[in-house]
Amino acid sequence: MQELLQLNHVSTAFNSRNGLVKAVCDVNMTVSSGQIVGLVGETGCGKSVLGQSILRLLPSSAVTSGEIIFEGRDLAQMDDKQIRSVRGRRIAYINQNPSEALNPVLKIGTQLLESLRVCGGLSQKEAKVRAVDLLRSLSFEDPEDIMKKYPLELSGGMKQRALTAMAMCGTPPFLIADEPTKGLDALIRGQVIESLEKFISITGCAAIIITHDLKFANTICDTLALMYAGEIVEFGSTGKLFSAPKHPYLSALKASMPQNGMHVLKGNSCSLIDMPEGCRFADRCGKACEKCRREHPELRPVAEDHMVRCWQYD
């Protein structure tokens, strides 16, 4: 399997009034073609920031370091023109919150045609045909009708599917989907899963799916990267991680799900400005010892295809 994306020591920090906010700390990850990696974690863990760092979508107050190698080129070193040629055409990005990602004053058809012409390089005629095909492949029953509608006439799930269609315009080999189910009904999620699965099967692309929804990640991702306070704390195949979680945070998350008894994980995530010296999960961890508080653990392999950042497994 060919390696498409390689993240080497990627860190992102923001300059704020109160100090340097270290949103992402020293992330190393590889995504091969056809692989669907779930970047999972709760609010503030840095997963969205990491996703946006890859495509350099962050504001100027953000400082990213490290290498982001995609198709042999370092995205972090590219100039504006080069990175623009990557966005949409080589790496598609599906935004959080479809209501805000779609232009409310343009019809769906107009936005779709624009994407097809810019990212897909098609002519107006070709674009029209392709747009209808794309919408039909995403289970829209009457694509021509949808193209004439404005975003506010569509439901949440339909908007999400329309966004997915726009992301498919450039038939990119890589997709980054940022919280595709955020704010959506549990039942509409099924439609979103379907549309993403279709996208992936039609384009054969690799993907990074950013989500805090464990069930969603479980359904769609084959590999998981669990993040906490800016770091990856557990990494491996989804099946192994969920069936036998190693890191105490993952065990706690799994136990806090309603169907598993809703066992409460007390406390809050640590500050991203004043990080503790040792393990960042130590003060919420039931199994923390002296070493955990003193020394910062590294991400180490604990089994085949399974890495954990925890002193218990050292």
């Binding site: 709760e42 609010t43 439901s155 949440g156 704010g183 009904d185 549990a186 039942l187 509409i188 999620r189 099924g190 899963i193 805090h212 929804d213 464990l214 069930k215 969603f216 479980n218 359904t219 989804t238 099946g239 969920f242 069936s243 706690a252 998350l253 806090s256 799900m257 309603p258 169907q259 809703m262 066992h263 409460v264 994980l265 007390k266 809050n268």
Partner: protein
């Protein structure tokens, strides 16, 4: 303890009110003392309309509500204020739940002062405030902050503090944890259940997340397009749904869940 009979709500819009939208269609159910009734259904099925009508923030087109056997459908101003004390609500979106211009302390105190539960500015009032924030797991420093300086979970805790200060008999929880992370959701739901045990209030729990409803409810009702199509003890409805709509609903939802269960065992 609260009974709803034939509740119907029709929204009129358009030039002469010609467009009619039936939000609730002849809804009837009851919630007993100390029990939690779950409400499930797709988006737009009328769940939120139901919650607004029950706490009298919206008037139904027809139907009646009985609280402890007394008809509360038409109340004068004084009776309405008394009603609000007995039936409280907690909303879905924590970001818009509190006035962004008021500090948390003031937000919580407002309820106490509206009903003159303690003398304004007295040490008893401060004592009550301290007890309330302790019960909901907030710290003193949170009192001095604005709602936009707090996390979603902390805001919901502040809202709960305000709600329980009135010692309501019925709490309507309209998707209180849908916008929260899974670990925070567990914290808030456990808190609500604990408060319910201590203060013995009934609860109407609305959510689109069937796992959550299953975990917190005693009985459940299923709503489709404004009408109650099934009701019963939660395990009965989830394990042996009588209606096809309910079966479809569960299947669509648990399509994801199946994967999780299989992998958990795998």
């Amino acid at each position: 303890m609260i009974e709803v009979e034939g509740l119907t709500k029709v929204y009129r819009s358009g030039v002469l009110g010609r467009d009619r939208k039936l939000a609730l269609d002849n809804v009837s159910f009851s919630v007993n003392n100390g029990e939690t009734l779950g409400v499930i259904g797709e988006s737009g099925c009328g769940k939120s309309t139901l919650s607004l009508i029950l706490c009298k923030l919206l008037n139904p087109t027809s139907g009646r509500i009985m609280l402890d056997g007394k008809d509360v459908s038409a109340l004068n101003k004084k009776e309405l204020k008394e009603y609000h004390k007995r039936v409280q609500i907690i909303f879905q979106n924590p970001e818009t739940a509190l006035d962004p211009r008021m500090k948390i302390e003031k937000c919580i105190l407002e309820a106490i002062r509206n009903y003159k539960i303690r003398k304004r500015g007295s040490p008893e009032e401060r004592q009550l405030l301290a007890e309330l924030i302790d019960k909901v797991g907030l710290q003193r420093e949170h009192l001095n902050r604005y709602c936009w300086e707090l996390s979603g979970g902390q805001i919901q805790r502040a809202v709960l503090a305000r709600v329980i200060s009135l010692e309501p008999e019925l709490l309507i929880a309209d998707e209180p944890t849908s916008m929260l992370d899974v670990s925070v959701q567990a914290q808030i739901l456990s808190l609500i259940k604990e408060l319910q045990r201590k203060l013995n209030f009934s609860m109407l729990f609305i959510s689109h997340d069937l796992d959550v409803v299953r975990a917190v409810s005693d009985r459940v009702i299923v709503i489709n397009r404004g009408a109650v199509i099934e009701q019963g003890p939660v395990e009965d409805v989830f394990v042996n749904p009588a209606q096809e709509y309910t079966r479809n609903l569960l299947q669509t939802f648990y399509y994801e869940n199946d994967h999780l269960n299989i992998r958990e065992e795998g």
